[in-house]
């Protein structure tokens, strides 16, 4: 089953890179949903010989929260036409991909020097999760729209989650659920706040989103 974990890890990194290289918000959300969907199978691959109820629960909860509900919330958030429009990243898409490739290389290079104590199912888990995190950060930094920053944050969380799976026994399942739920509520509250911001801007007729403190939303 190591093969399947390896495949999932590589796909997760690849999809994180695709999020970075997409400039349509709808596309980004869809890619994120696929990434979460793949991620939700990883708990099942971990103990392939004896899948326990705990693995199935974690897998199901991940799938429902991350692959269905979070994208649904994000789609709800961009239901206004104006939000669907193309976004202009701070640096071009080609450059983003190039930087992303460099980040992946960095992640692999860093994880060479990190020796995991004990045996690990797949040696790809650590570098891939680091790479996903870095790509998520990159998405957050280079995009100006608030919704894309949320997406970047979620990609970071997916990277962390991939890593968390490799040390399954240290975290009791309740805490894992707490973490998942927290992240879900975070996205929910972010979407609500964004919604309020949009309403406020439509009401006051603001366009650029630059306030008197000089900050952009």
């Amino acid at each position: 089953m190591t093969l399947w974990i390896d495949v999932s890890c590589i796909l997760v990194v690849f999809l994180a890179l695709s999020v970075l290289a997409t400039n349509r918000i709808v596309g980004m959300i869809k890619i994120f949903a696929v990434q979460s969907f793949i991620l939700s199978f990883v708990p099942l691959f971990l103990h392939a010989d004896a899948v326990s109820g705990r693995d199935i629960t974690l897998s199901l909860v991940t799938m429902v929260l991350k692959a269905i509900l979070v994208p649904a919330i994000l789609f709800w958030q961009i239901r206004h036409i104006s939000m669907r429009s193309e976004i202009k990243p701070l640096i071009g898409l080609g450059t983003s991909i190039l930087f992303g490739a460099v980040l992946i290389a960095v992640a692999f290079w860093v994880s060479l020097s990190l020796r995991l104590p004990g045996k690990l199912l797949s040696s790809l888990v650590l570098p891939c999760s680091l790479a996903t995190m870095l790509l998520g950060f990159m998405t957050m930094v280079t995009r100006t729209r608030a919704i894309t920053q949320v997406l970047g944050y979620m990609v970071i969380e997916n990277g962390i989650f991939l890593f968390a799976l490799s040390l399954f026994d240290a975290m009791p399942v309740l805490i894992e659920m707490g973490i998942l739920l927290d992240i879900f509520v975070a996205v929910l509250i972010m979407a609500i706040v964004l919604n309020h911001i949009n309403e406020e801007f439509e009401r006051t007729g603001g366009s650029a989103g630059r306030s008197k403190t000089g900050e952009t939303v």
């Binding site: 990190l114 962390i160 973490i179």
Partner: protein, 469 residues
């Protein structure tokens, strides 16, 4: 008892969602806060037993934070009685979030599992966000957004740090604090170092330490005074508890020196940055926000210096929360009277509202750590610790920064208090509830400044031995 203390505010929060009158909610909040404070006070006689298989346990460190929570929520609840006499906005979500926050802050103080601690701290972030945007306008919403994003990303790093800790403690098989401390010799040092860095950056972000402070002036500048009291006095110190837990682990594994160097550098930076940024500041809430960064820096500095510095830092936790009550409730009451907190709109408060004007001066002295107030003593203890450990440059720099910060805050506050009076816009009268709250908090700070009760000394001492050094 501990789970009861978590459940009471949680059930209260659900009750708040029922359709009742606004003032009823406020009185209910007062009742819950009062019960909460009573239960916490009973813990000073005897610490409650551990619950949930050791996941919840209260040690002196947690007790200090829990008492700080009690000390914050009670005055805020009483202050709200006055505040909502002039405020027509629906407070359903506001009060509910406040009680959720209370429940989660209790969970932070009592959690003995590093994963649970993370969950609790992240939840406090989420429930404090709607509080910041209580007044729906552009400024508050932008501030909320920034707070939510910066803190969420920071906390995500802390989650990564928690997982690294789990790897370091692979042989222990759990993240329960006593188990980690007992099995300290089996921890993998390299992974622990990595974990410490991530945990520090993550929780430091939530605490608003210097390089990660960008959300603080925005959020504190925009939110209502009462909310800022809870954030500056309570939430930031919840993250400080997490840093102290890391300190405990580092002490047991012999990484104290490594951790201390991180703490000292960040601590000094958190003194220098507000000193520089304060000088051009015109808004009272924003300048108090910079003062909050400074106080966090002092806490971290004390923790890094060790010995008497830790004692000072723990004492400062209590003093800081009381000082924040005085400072931000005064700022909030001024903001409610004038509808603004910028120096161009608010001047000569002492002529129009003598009591509030005096409170402004009190908050200047309490907040910057001037003599009779207890903040002076705790800051002195920490600088003392720096001198004892022969960190002369550091102590000199700290004193210089404190002096500059005093000048910066004094400039704003004095202009507020004594400038050419401007007309208040909204409320016309002083409010009794608001003023009594602020006066009591200032009195408490004054009393702690001249006399430290024996039980407090004992608990602080026990807490210092827990952190070690």
């Amino acid at each position: 008892m501990l789970s009861l203390l978590i459940l009471i505010p949680l059930l209260g929060a659900l009750a708040m969602l029922l359709p009742v009158r606004a003032m009823f909610r406020v009185w209910f909040l007062c009742a819950v806060s009062f019960t909460y404070a009573l239960i916490v006070a009973s813990f000073w006689r005897q610490l409650p037993a551990a619950e949930w298989n050791g996941y919840l346990a209260l040690d002196p460190l947690g007790l200090i934070l829990l008492s700080v929570n009690g000390l914050l929520f009670l005055p805020v609840a009483v202050f709200m009685i006055g505040y909502f006499q002039h405020e027509r906005r629906n407070n359903r979500i506001f009060t509910a979030c406040l009680l959720f926050l209370m429940s989660m802050m209790t969970l932070v103080s009592a959690s003995y599992h590093m994963g649970l601690l993370w969950v609790a701290i992240e939840t406090t972030t989420l429930f404090s966000a709607p509080l910041i945007s209580f007044h729906h306008n552009r400024g508050t919403l932008e501030a909320t957004w920034r707070y939510l994003l910066v803190c969420s990303v920071g906390i995500a790093l802390a989650l990564m740090g928690t997982f690294f800790l789990a790897i370091a403690a692979r042989d222990v098989h759990t993240l329960l604090l006593p188990a980690i401390l007992n099995g300290a010799s089996s921890l993998s040092v390299n992974w622990l170092k990595l974990s410490v860095i991530f945990l520090f950056v993550g929780y430091g972000c939530k605490m608003g330490l210097a390089p990660m402070h960008s959300w603080k002036p925005e959020a504190y500048g925009q939110a209502t005074g009462m909310v800022v009291v809870l954030m500056a006095g309570g939430l930031t110190q919840c993250s400080f508890l997490a840093l102290m837990r890391v300190s405990q682990i580092c002490y047991k594994t012999g990484l104290s020196g490594f951790y201390a160097s991180i703490l000292l550098v960040t601590g000094v930076l958190s003194l220098v940055v507000p000193a520089v940024l304060l000088l051009g500041e015109k808004s009272i809430k924003r300048s108090f926000a910079y003062s909050s960064i400074e106080h966090m820096g002092i806490l971290v500095l004390g923790l890094g210096l060790g010995g008497i510095g830790i004692f000072g830092a723990l004492f400062h936790m209590i003093n800081n929360s009381l000082a924040k009550v005085v400072m931000f409730l005064t700022a909030g009451s001024v903001a409610q009277k004038y509808g603004a907190s910028h120096a161009s709109l608010v001047r000569g408060v002492i002529h129009t509202y003598p009591v509030t004007g005096v409170f402004l001066l009190v908050s200047l002295f309490a907040g910057t750590g001037m003599f009779p107030f207890a903040t002076f003593h705790s800051e002195l203890l920490i600088i003392n610790a720096a001198i004892i450990s022969k960190q002369y440059v550091l102590s000199g720099l700290a004193i210089l920064c404190l002096a500059v910060i005093f000048i910066g805050i004094a400039k704003v506050v004095l202009e507020f208090a004594y400038g050419q009076p401007t007309d208040p816009v909204l409320a016309k009268k002083e409010n009794l509830f608001m003023n009594i709250t602020i006066a009591l908090a200032a009195m408490a700070l004054l009393c702690l400044g001249v006399w430290m009760p024996a039980p407090l000394h004992r608990v602080l001492h026990d807490a210092v031995t827990l952190i070690g050094a």
